[in-house]
């Protein structure tokens, strides 16, 4: 399996958004979600929509990729919006039945809620679509660094993350191999009751765990032989370089935030 498909999302490309520093992308995404929560009126929401559409346009990723992110959660979104629409009060009452009521305020709430979902999901999809898991891991490691003052084992966490990423495809291959071996012995993974199917997974999981432990042990020995000591400082080969475009993007984000605050006061 392709490591880059870890989140099933990465869309190879070389757009401005692809090339932005992954640290900036993560912080910006977090900031965008915060803004989404503070947007109440139509104007501030419109600003966020325009910002998101501009970023999507700049990423040169086919829209279907973003839509795929939303589609997966469509059920949850619609259900929550329905609850919101049926159980809120205020404004004109259009329809009532027991404790359920459709009101004008409820409808507005429901639409805003759906919009919020769309913005947050699509906003985070921008990151997973334009950033490789490796870059993400580097960014997380860099962003965690300040937590060192709290005596958190930041370097060890970063190492764990990068090893986990490295071994995901290996373990995936192993799952396929073990399942094929069991199929060759006549196990049918795709039929029978849910309980039966779950039972069939046991002879897959056990060899998988055994193999994973053996791997972990050998890897630990190999790392030690190559001089790894979790308690010693290390240098880092893979460096993130802050570029001018990153400063520019940051400036854009600051201006959008100021405009946002302005709109919120005006609303």
């Amino acid at each position: 399996m392709d490591n880059r498909a870890l989140f099933g999302m990465y869309f190879p490309g070389n757009s401005l958004i692809h090339r932005l520093d992954p640290r900036l992308k993560m912080v910006a995404c977090f900031w965008f979600v915060v803004l989404v929560f503070f947007a109440h009126g139509w104007a501030s929401n419109l600003l966020l929509i325009v910002l998101l559409l501009a970023v999507i346009r700049l990423s040169r990723v086919v829209f279907a990729k973003y839509w795929a992110g939303v589609r997966g959660l469509m059920g949850v979104i619609l259900f929550t919006a329905l609850i919101q629409a049926l159980f809120s009060s205020g404004g004109t009452v259009y329809w009532q039945w027991g404790i359920m009521a459709v009101t004008s305020a409820g409808l507005v709430q429901a639409v805003l809620l759906m919009l919020r979902f769309f913005l947050i999901i699509t906003g985070s999809t921008v990151i997973t679509v334009t950033t490789t898991p490796l870059e993400l891991a580097d960014a997380i490691a860099a962003l965690l660094k300040p937590l060192k003052v709290l005596h958190l084992p930041v370097n060890q966490l970063a190492m764990m993350l990068s090893i986990a990423l490295r071994f995901v495809p290996t373990i995936m291959n192993e799952v396929t191999m073990i399942m094929n071996a069991q199929r060759a012995r006549g196990v049918d993974f795709n039929s029978g009751s849910l309980l039966k199917r779950a039972k069939h997974l046991v002879p897959v999981l056990i060899p998988l765990f055994v193999a994973a432990f053996k791997r972990a042990e050998e890897l630990a020995v190999a790392m030690e032989a190559r001089g790894y000591d979790p308690n010693q400082p290390r240098t880092k080969y893979r460096q993130l370089h802050w570029q001018r475009r990153d400063s520019l993007a940051l400036a854009v984000l600051v201006f959008v935030t100021l405009a946002f605050i302005g709109l919120r006061i005006w609303e």
């Binding site: 490796l134 990068s162 290390r234």
Partner: protein
């Protein structure tokens, strides 16, 4: 120099000792091949020398450093180790990252790393794969990367545990001759565990392990020509030696000094020309 004295070692939860009173020395700047049947303890011996197993009874020293808890960090500065399974020693996300791993541990400055990595990858002919991820590589390619990772650290002692077992014969020849020339240039001691008679023939010395004991420590010529010993430890003779034996059996007096394929071809040509 690596010296092992009165080594006794038993794996935890095992009854029988794997090694009992084992002693041997490996001189500096030599290429020493360790051979023996599956399970004869070759990998275990290599791990003990590298301090990667619980400290055993007896003394092991590497270039004067005793192998124990207190000297592990210093020991791993001197040693390079390439393991049998190339998949479980690949730490980095890409080939270049993996070669960098050891450098990062030794706190080499990041701006110095690219040149070192380039050189190490060139030594094992893996330059075009610099950005490849491990799941995109074959077993033999991963073994080359592991070797590059060890070479990048410029170790004084390089331990290879069947490190070229997955390479195609031509690739193995290339990598081994790289190692041979590295050893010629510098201060490199090589310990190679192998089942390949051609690799054994390249060594200065062969240590034959059998039932937890050193059965023989001798030159490759003498070990490989000892048919009984070769068979007892599960090796096969290299092609040239088998051909020579067959010729001798037919009454052709092949000189004893001839041991390699090249020498044999040359000698046969000479003979055919002078007779024809």
């Amino acid at each position: 120099m690596i010296s092992v004295e009165k080594l006794t070692f038993t794996y935890p939860h095992q009854e029988a000792a794997l090694f009992e009173d084992l002693s041997l020395t490996i001189p500096d700047h030599q290429w020493v091949a360790i051979v023996g049947r599956n399970g004869s303890g070759k990998s275990t011996l290599a791990r003990l020398i590298a301090g990667l197993l619980p400290t055993p009874a007896g003394t092991i020293t590497v270039n004067g450093l005793p192998v124990d808890e207190d000297h592990l960090a210093a020991l791993h500065q001197q040693l390079g180790f390439v393991f049998q399974n190339p998949d479980n020693q690949f730490v980095g996300a890409t080939v270049a990252d993996d070669v960098a791993f050891g450098l990062e541990n030794r706190r080499v400055a990041p701006q110095k790393m690219p040149t070192i990595i380039e050189r190490a990858l060139a030594q094992v002919r893996m330059t075009p794969f610099k950005a490849a991820r491990p799941e995109e590589l074959s077993g033999g390619q991963k073994q080359r990367v592991a070797l590059a990772g060890a070479l990048a650290l410029k170790p004084a002692v390089l331990i290879l545990d069947e490190a070229t077992s997955m390479l195609d014969p031509q690739g193995r020849g290339e990598v081994l001759s790289q190692l041979a020339s590295l050893r010629q240039q510098g201060e490199l001691t090589i310990i190679s565990i192998t089942h390949d008679p051609a690799e054994v023939a390249l060594a200065d010395q062969v240590i034959v392990l059998d039932q937890g004991q050193v059965r023989r420590q001798d030159s490759p010529e003498r070990v490989l020509t000892d048919v009984a010993l070769v068979e007892a430890v599960g090796l096969v003779q290299p092609f040239a030696l088998r051909l020579k034996a067959a010729l001798q059996a037919q009454g052709v007096a092949v000189p004893a000094t001839i041991t390699t394929e090249g020498e044999l071809v040359q000698w046969l040509n000479q003979q055919l020309n002078t007779r024809g």
